[in-house]
């Protein structure tokens, strides 16, 4: 019991009114708990949706962008009026020139963790009379796996079989079902320019995203080049993964300049997903902020009431030599203690909520509910909780400091 006298008084006030102290603290607890829980929910969900995006989309994609024909003569030269009637997309190939050099350049860039090339081909999958159209990616399967973790979604077969089977193909489960194809069956494919090939199914994957499962397949790079009647240097896309995917937009301009081709970050390629993400953030953020605000009013109210009830005490303290600052200090300490209790309990509540929700099975490609303990969210929650509590206590405490003892004694 050797606290400084202000702390001593604050503690005595709190301890003699345990119920109010607890209720005010619980207000903060609920606020902080829900805040952290909700934000973790959003962060977890966003992480999960990013992860599912990264199963088929690289952080940055470098490709030859289609261009509409432009007049060769600059408009600035006077006397000429350059006009192209009904301009079309210039009929150049999508080939990236000298891809090996581009890849080795990119690999030497800082923060780049993974680079792979691929050839995308629009094809028809055939089995007897049934036909499905889709997209196949000609890849080096080991590199592609390093980037997209194809292995984790394999239903049957092994991705490495593609290396030993030049005419192999790994198809989505939707294609296999619709064409009634099992592993090790043969199927024929026809590319958009009419080249046909018979390929052996060495693997079937399932991402639980039907638009991928029903259309996507992986073949060897060479086969894809053959399907397009192109040479072995023909590459349409180079995919780049970097350390922090959220910083991808910072690299797009840099890589464009480096390669001379368009480098598109995944955020730009998935604008609608990004917009949804942002919406979620704002929505949950404002809801939990509102809850915090209510908690703050709770604290404000209780401290205010305490001060109203303690007018006599404040007057005595002032008469016996406590300054306005001391009185304010006492009540700020009281809020601080309530804030700390509330925040600590809030962190516990959030942890319990997150623990239970992470055990809820959702199914589909999500599996268990995508929520996790985020250190940053906990820190943010604790800080916001304390700041709001102190702000809520500050106003009444300031008023307490101004109490005129004479007014009280005269009553």
């Amino acid at each position: 019991m050797k606290f400084k006298v202000n702390t001593d008084i604050a503690l005595t006030h709190l301890l003699t009114r345990k119920r109010q102290t607890l209720i005010a603290s619980l207000g903060v607890t609920v606020g902080i708990g829900i805040f952290i829980f909700m934000i973790s929910l959003v962060v977890g969900f966003n992480k999960d949706s990013d992860e599912s995006i990264f199963k088929s989309v690289p952080h940055l994609r470098i490709y030859h962008e289609d261009e509409v024909c432009k007049p060769l003569i600059s408009e600035k030269i006077s006397g000429y009026m350059p006009v192209i009637v009904n301009p079309k997309i210039s009929n150049l190939s999508n080939n990236l020139i000298n891809p090996d050099k581009l890849i080795s350049d990119l690999k030497h860039q800082p923060d780049v963790v993974n680079v792979t090339q691929q050839v995308s081909v629009n094809i028809f999958y055939n089995n007897g009379k049934s036909q499905i159209n889709g997209i196949t990616s000609g890849v080096n399967i080991v590199e592609a796996n390093a980037m997209f973790d194809i292995e984790s979604v394999m239903l049957a077969g092994d991705i490495r079989d593609l290396l030993t089977t030049p005419n192999g193909i790994i198809i989505g489960v939707g294609i296999a079902d619709k064409l009634n194809i099992q592993i090790n069956d043969y199927m024929s494919v026809i590319s958009s320019i009419g080249v046909g090939k018979v390929l052996k199914v060495v693997g079937i994957f399932k991402t639980s995203n039907s638009s991928v499962d029903d259309t996507k397949s992986y073949i060897n790079l060479a086969v894809a080049q053959q399907l397009l009647k192109q040479s072995s240097s023909y590459v349409t896309d180079i995919y780049v993964n970097i350390i922090d995917p959220n910083k991808a937009p910072n690299y797009s301009a840099k890589f464009s300049a480096l390669t001379g081709y368009k480098a598109e970050d995944w955020q730009a390629a998935n604008e609608s997903t990004m917009a949804k993400k942002q919406t979620r953030k704002v929505m949950f953020g404002s809801i939990s902020f509102a809850i915090l605000l209510v908690a703050a009013f709770g604290i404000y109210n209780i401290i205010n009431m305490t001060i109203k009830e303690k007018m006599n005490d404040i007057a005595i303290l002032k008469a016996t030599g406590f300054s306005g600052k001391d009185v304010m200090n006492i009540f700020i300490k009281e809020t601080l203690i309530m804030g700390v209790i509330g925040t600590v309990l809030g962190l516990l509540v959030a942890t319990v909520l997150i623990h239970f929700l992470s055990k809820v099975y959702i199914g589909g490609d999500v599996g268990f509910f995508p929520i996790d303990y985020e250190k940053n969210v906990y820190v943010a929650g604790a800080i916001i909780g304390m700041v709001i509590t102190i702000a809520a206590g500050y106003i009444p405490a300031k008023n307490a400091a101004k109490v005129d003892p004479i007014e009280i004694f005269k009553k």
Binding site: M1, K2, A315, A319, T320, G321, F322, G324, D404
Partner: protein, 231 residues
């Protein structure tokens, strides 16, 4: 008039108005001196302005005209935090309605001004608080909660609290209002002794004739003016 003694408190032309509910002049240019070691009682009918004057002397009321000096230092116009410091160090209070902090033990109530002053260690302060309570014959009540003892006992705890920092001046508003004659005698004896032996000054507003008679000087007030200084 004992001119060889040191002036501890001096008031010059104190004027106080109340504006609620109607403008009313409570003090009409009061001037007086109090010497060190005096046991001064202030008497007068209800509404004569003695409590109002007491609040000004206590430095809590700063809304007045005129000047107030404590130990030759002018306190009129000083900042409220500075005045709080002066009260803590140099002035002890006993209020009319005892005014203890109800959640704290009697001992703690006595200790709080000393803890604020922070001159002695916690243990020493506790020891001193026990001594003061013993002086007033309520040591056995020390650990009881302040709200759980009788009115007379509370008043004595309040007196013990006023003494804890060995203030130069002890100001009392009806210090014996709730005490029986036996306890009144105890308090008067203590005050006389403090004034005589320790040179502390006591200024007490009172209705109690017996109390006033036993003080060293009795100042009489009427309608916001001093009727007699008592010397």
């Amino acid at each position: 008039m004992e001119t060889d003694k040191k002036i501890i408190l001096r008031a010059e032309n104190l004027i106080k108005y109340y504006y609620e509910p109607v403008k009313f002049q409570a003090l009409k240019s009061i001037s007086f001196k109090v010497y060190e070691g005096e046991f001064l009682s202030v008497v007068g009918k209800s509404g004569c302005g003695k409590t109002t004057m007491m609040y000004i002397l206590s430095t809590m009321d700063t809304d007045y005209e005129g000047e107030l000096f404590i130990s030759d230092e002018k306190v009129t116009g000083k900042k409220s935090d500075y005045l709080a410091d002066i009260r803590n160090k140099h002035i002890g209070f006993v209020f009319q309605f005892h005014y203890l902090l109800p959640e704290f033990s009697c001992l703690k109530n006595v200790m709080i001004p000393a803890l604020k002053l922070n001159k002695y260690s916690y243990e020493e302060t506790e020891q001193r608080a026990y001594e003061k309570l013993d002086l007033l014959g309520i040591k056995d009540q020390a650990l009881k909660q302040a709200s759980k003892i009788s009115g007379g006992q509370q008043q004595r705890v309040a007196i013990a609290r006023a003494l804890i920092n060995d203030p130069k001046i002890i100001m009392c508003d009806e210090p014996t209002g709730n005490l029986d004659s036996k306890n009144t005698d105890i308090v008067v004896d203590i005050f006389s002794q403090l004034a005589k032996d320790y040179g502390q000054t006591i200024i007490a507003v009172t209705h109690d004739k017996d109390f006033a008679v036993r003080s060293s000087r009795t100042m009489e007030m009427k309608d916001g003016e001093i009727l007699s200084h008592g010397w």
